[in-house]
């Protein structure tokens, strides 16, 4: 760009919030004298409608093409100012936000002169970066309306129907010859203390699916190959019968591959004695009415669950109560024992246990580390169990021994995760993007996740997940595109060594490698964390708004005067800056030595960025990221932590004191942590 750089600086008083401490007039005057600055203005309330109008007028009047706003915090006010400069005709990526309230006036209230000095420094840094800013734009990728649903169980059928009902095309793939999944083996579903035959539920849904004009069902079919990304998947299906294939153009995908019972081969005589069965096999026998005269039945809970490798199966207790009652209904005088560790029954399920007790089902708790023992005594199956409550052992005869066993993901998971480049745990359950707030999607855009493919869950939960995942898939299909903020990675192939590291490291599968082994960023999938740029050994990746040049310009401006007194702090936007803001809101006072540089993720901070301040004589460097395990970019802070260790070794070699490179992992609620770190750092670096 050869156009003349014309920067406008707007300094906010925030009433007396800033102006009460910082000499805003002086700061504005100072800003006016900085290179490339053509105007600077002081505003009493920059965010008021009146001032925003004035701001737009000033921008146009002075022909400004870069804006620096010095006010509160970008976390709350950046969208507003971005909108404003856009209305004034400037690309919103040409805005640089400087925080002189949360980072200055509120935290150095008793030192107006020092605060004024710091405000000037921060504005100088902002102006230096602004001069190098380049236009950006939201990136769109078109998405059509063809959705592939993998798995035709309850989650998958609900997903398909929800997608199809909106007029989108649903392609439902099921590896078995019929729809229904694990529910095909279940006798009845119990909910709200009512019983509904599972077959009826499956039939109702399957009929709806088959009758829907927008759903194409492929039963007895597997996934042979998947290529591409959201809006542009090429999927090859292969029939498990005749081996014929089908090629589909797919826009979004939903993974609903369900789960399987983990058969307890060799445990509790399972596999040796036909009277020992699993809970699902019992359900199947009940369904087929194969059981009549069971006088003595014993159920053992938590088989292969709640141990070193596996957690609670979530549905076992509920299922055992349901099936115990069913056995009781078959024969009123039957002796049914449920041997358990913890009865995990929630809300109404507790009532179901009460009615089971009333019917005469016996519940017997055994110790976590002392499972019941099963032996064959003259053809009779005997279960020896230690009853915790009574404090002694019992021997129970059993004509039927039912094991409430753990679950695993479907065996096709290994293959599918390879096709989709997503992760699953050792039990073959898929890993959702965020345990709390991203339960229905993978980190990769365009692929949703539902039901027991993620973890064992109840019938009702599976249905809800199916519908929810359909919403996730439908959002881009309904809009016709996905859009991402323009803060994305660009790769300059000139110096690229084709090492492939960027593609491997990207947590979002946003960097592909083409046939010539050149990496390419699918910008619509890039979230702009900057991990790839920081790790690229050839330094050929840049991040819009956070390029090396821009960050170094900030570093240099910060250290132009008295570098030996200053700390350069790289702070992640999501959590650490939240902590900084929280310290501000709480008016926690701390030393003013730090000059903060915002990055989207601590993973953006490269080895060079960590070292550059020391080359310029800085007293210390701080890298501040999200508190583990939180990270807005999945695990950027983990990457940063590893890199910090390398940086220290490198620094020592280069002759700098690695003890001066600090880091904190700070939550957005933890203002005190940031303030304390500042105090400690200043003390230990002997800056006080």
């Amino acid at each position: 760009m050869s156009e003349e750089i014309r920067i406008g600086v707007f300094v906010c008083d925030c009433g007396t919030n800033i102006a009460g401490v910082v000499d805003v007039l002086e700061v504005t005057e100072y800003a006016r004298g900085l290179e490339n600055v053509v105007m600077a203005d002081e505003g009493k309330w920059s965010c008021s409608v009146d001032y925003l109008t004035k701001m737009k007028e000033l921008i146009q009047q002075h022909n400004i093409n870069r804006v620096v706003i010095a006010s509160c915090t970008p976390r709350t006010h950046e969208p507003l100012f971005k909108r404003t400069i856009k209305e004034a005709g400037i690309n919103p990526y040409l805005l640089e936000f400087v925080s002189i309230r949360e980072q200055v006036s509120w935290v150095h209230m008793k030192e107006p002169e020092i605060a004024t000095l710091k405000a000037k420094d921060l504005i100088k840094m902002g102006v230096a970066k602004a001069a190098l800013l380049e236009e950006g734009q939201e990136i769109r990728l078109p998405v059509k309306t063809d959705c592939l649903i993998i798995g035709g169980g309850m989650a998958g059928m609900n997903a398909a129907l929800s997608v199809a009902d909106q007029g989108f095309n649903a392609f439902l793939v099921e590896k078995e010859p019929q729809l229904g999944g694990i529910l095909n083996n279940v006798c009845f579903i119990s909910h709200d203390n009512q019983k509904t035959p599972a077959a009826r539920v499956v039939q109702t849904k399957a009929d709806q699916v088959h009758a829907h004009p927008n759903i194409t069902v492929y039963t007895h079919t597997g996934i042979e190959a998947v290529e591409g990304y959201i809006g542009n998947y090429k999927v090859k299906l292969k029939s498990n019968g005749d081996g014929s294939t089908n090629d589909l153009d797919i826009s979004t995908m939903i993974v609903a591959t369900g789960m399987k019972e983990l058969e307890p081969e060799g445990q509790f005589e399972y596999g040796n004695d036909p009277r020992v069965i699993t809970q699902l096999q019992l359900d199947d026998m009940l369904r087929k009415k194969q059981l009549e005269d069971i006088k003595n039945a014993v159920m053992i809970s938590c088989v292969n669950s709640k141990n070193e490798t596996r957690g609670c199966c979530n549905i076992g207790c509920h299922t055992s109560v349901k099936n115990a009652v069913a056995l009781k209904h078959l024969r009123k005088d039957a002796n049914i024992y449920i041997l358990y560790r913890d009865m995990s029954l929630i809300k109404e399920e507790g009532t179901a246990q009460q009615s089971a007790k009333r019917l005469g089902v016996k519940f017997l708790r055994f110790p976590d580390d002392r499972y019941p023992e099963v032996r064959n005594e003259n053809g009779n199956l005997m279960v020896k169990v230690y009853d915790l409550l009574v404090g002694r052992e019992f021997e129970l005869p059993s004509d039927l021994l039912v094991l409430t066993t753990a679950f695993k993901g479907d065996e096709t998971v290994e293959q599918i995760r390879g096709h989709l480049k997503v992760s699953a745990n050792p039990d073959r359950f898929f890993q959702e993007s965020h345990v709390k707030l991203g339960p229905l999607e993978f980190a990769t855009d365009g692929i949703s996740l539902a039901g027991c493919a993620k973890a064992p869950m109840t019938f009702k939960e599976s249905c809800e997940e199916g519908i929810g995942s359909a919403m996730k898939a439908s959002i881009p299909m309904n809009r016709g595109y996905i859009e991402t903020e323009g803060i994305v990675a660009h790769i300059d192939l000139t110096d690229c060594t084709q090492c492939g590291l960027c593609s491997k490291r990207c947590p979002y599968n946003a960097i592909t490698v083409d046939k010539e082994e050149n990496p390419e960023v699918l910008q619509a999938l890039c979230k702009g964390c900057g991990l790839c740029a920081a790790d690229c050994p050839a330094e050929c990746i840049s991040i819009v708004h956070y390029s090396d040049d821009q960050v170094f310009a900030q570093v240099e401006a910060a250290l132009e005067e008295n570098p030996e007194k200053k700390i350069v702090a790289f702070v992640c936007h999501w959590c650490a800056l939240g902590g900084v803001d929280m310290a501000g809101v709480s008016r926690l006072q701390y030393p003013s030595n730090a000059r903060l540089i915002r990055v989207m993720c601590s993973a953006r901070v490269s080895l060079k960025m960590m070292q550059r301040p020391f080359e310029l004589g800085a007293a210390g460097v701080l890298v501040a990221g999200c508190e583990f395990p939180t990270c807005h970019y999945i695990e950027g802070n983990y990457a940063a932590e590893k890199r910090l260790k390398r940086a220290k070794r490198r620094m020592a070699k280069a002759g700098y004191d690695p003890e001066k490179l600090w880091n904190i992992w700070c939550s957005a609620a933890d203002g005190p942590k940031f303030a304390t770190t500042m105090r400690t750092m200043v003390k230990e670096l002997k800056l006080d």
């Binding site: 008083d13 009433g15 007396t16 919030n17 009493k44 409608v49 709350t76 969208p79 609900n158 929800s162 009902d165 579903i189 709200d192 509904t196 539920v201 849904k205 709640k306 596996r310 957690g311 609670c312 913890d342 995990s344 929630i346 809300k347 507790g350 009532t351 915790l388 409550l389 359950f429 965020h434 345990v435 709390k436 707030l437 339960p439 973890a455 939960e461 809800e464 519908i467 929810g468 995942s469 919403m471 996730k472 439908s474 959002i475 309904n478 809009r479 999501w574 959590c575 939240g578 929280m582 809101v585 709480s586 508190e627 395990p629 939180t630 939550s667 957005a668 609620a669 933890d670 005190p672």
Partner: protein, 451 residues
């Protein structure tokens, strides 16, 4: 016919419901009857089983809905009347006055600094947070603005030292106020955002569908159950959560109410109030309390590795993905789990320590244990607003007081009224992830509903 939808409740379920619908392309009214969106999650310190910082992951979503062009957030707003006309719901809302101009307030807090009266923050309960009569719900509040306590505005806080309240006329009669210190402070900042004469506003909207996301409530211990009303150092798990929180009343110091000293020996009692007669306790398992206590012990150990922590429990509910490992982590960190039923709690009047008498269910023996701080896991109960709202919406409640699904098996999250859907704590005790799932599912139903 309207193409908008209404989401009632701005907690994590309501936020996700609104967000998904808005991204889909539908206009959303997101209504909450408190001063800020955020709900219960905004007050939590951490979330199980990962110990993510709660506000760190929720606040970006709050800002996102706040900035979304398809979402209109209405806080301090109640749903008063709903009528179905020509396939749309005509909804009458009341925006209760905050006595602050939402357009003008910037949340700078100068008014709160000037306010002479601090009152206990009822949301912090016994752990003693204070707030001014004009205050922000919490630092990350959306919208980021203050609210005047109605009791001050109506002159009831004069005795407590409030600057207003003895005028001959009510505030509603004036259009400026020469005496209120908050008003002065705001004017000094060059703003006129505080409007003590503001009145409630009626608002009428048309929507095609409604999602109920009113959330859950933590049960309060009834009477002197396990000493809660009698002894200072007996608190609820919600109150303990505030103690752990760096943004809470003690800045994250786990100190006990009686002497503000760090508690070194803490016990949690699970299933408090379970099985009590109706109206007194929680008659069912609330699902999430075992993991809440597990989380609280792990965080306590992080604050102070030497702290002794014991959980008295009946049946461990480690039902979700990663929950069992979370429990094991607690055990590895030295948390003691005792399967036991505490039946009495006494206070040592000198030390203010608590002596718990309990029956150890593993051996049947009666035992006792002395601790410095006792935390009661009281369970989850339906929200107070459910009854009134159910009546307004003509939607049925179940016998426990949660909103009832018409057909939980074949028509998830639908109610007896076509076009009204449910998600989150409105349906029963639930954790955050499940709330998000339901909210996403309900948002699909709501946006694609055509009568």
């Amino acid at each position: 016919m309207s193409d908008s939808i209404l989401v009632i409740g701005g907690g994590i379920a309501g936020i996700n419901c609104a967000m998904n619908a808005a991204k889909y392309g539908t206009k959303v009214y997101l209504v909450d009857d408190t001063a800020s969106i955020g709900g219960m999650m905004a007050r939590l310190d951490k979330t199980f089983p990962t110990n993510d910082c709660s506000i760190c992951i929720e606040a970006p979503q709050m800002y996102e809905v706040d900035n979304h062009e398809n979402i209109e957030i209405l806080t301090n707003t109640e749903v008063r009347k709903v009528k179905k006309v020509n396939g749309s719901f005509k909804v009458k809302l009341v925006r209760k006055a905050k006595y602050v101009d939402e357009e003008k307030c910037t949340g700078c807090g100068a008014c709160a600094e000037a306010c002479p009266v601090s009152v206990p923050d009822s949301l912090d309960g016994k752990v003693g947070g204070m707030r001014k009569l004009i205050s922000m719900a919490f630092p990350q509040a959306v919208p980021n603005m203050v609210t005047v306590d109605p009791s001050c505005r109506f002159g009831e806080m004069r005795k407590a030292g409030a600057c207003i309240g003895e005028c001959a006329v009510d505030c509603s009669q004036c259009r400026e106020c020469p005496i209120a210190l908050c008003v002065k402070a705001c004017e000094k900042e060059g703003k006129k955002a505080i409007v003590l004469w503001q009145s409630n506003k009626n608002l009428s909207i048309d929507v095609k569908s409604i999602v109920v996301a009113t959330g859950i409530k933590n049960a309060q211990p009834v009477g002197d159950l396990l000493g809660y009303d009698k002894y200072e150092n007996v608190i609820t798990n919600t109150e303990f959560e505030r103690l752990m929180n760096a943004g809470g009343p003690t800045a994250g110091e786990i100190i006990r109410p009686s002497d503000k000293k760090h508690a070194k020996k803490i016990a949690w009692i699970q299933c408090v109030g379970r099985g009590l007669a109706e109206g007194k306790g929680t008659p069912y398992c609330s699902k999430i309390c075992c993991m809440i206590s597990t989380k609280q012990t792990i965080i306590t150990k992080e604050h102070d590795a030497d702290a002794e922590t014991t959980i008295f429990y009946n049946d461990l509910k480690a039902y979700g993905k990663g929950f069992w490992d979370f429990y094991r982590k607690a055990v590895e960190n030295g948390v003691k789990y005792v399967r036991g039923r505490p039946y009495e709690v006494f206070e040592d009047s000198e030390t203010k320590n608590l002596i718990i008498r309990y029956e150890n269910l593993d051996c049947g023996e009666l035992k006792k244990e002395e601790v410095e701080l006792l935390v009661l896991a009281t369970g989850i109960v339906p929200n107070d607003r459910n009854k009134r709202l159910a009546k307004v919406l003509k939607v049925k409640l179940d016998e426990l007081g949660y909103f009832k699904e018409k057909d939980p098996l074949l028509a998830s999250l639908e109610t007896n009224v076509e076009g009204i859907y449910l998600c989150g704590g409105a349906t029963g005790p639930i954790d955050i992830a499940e709330s998000v799932v339901q909210a996403t599912a309900a948002s699909l139903k709501a946006v694609s509903f055509h009568s």
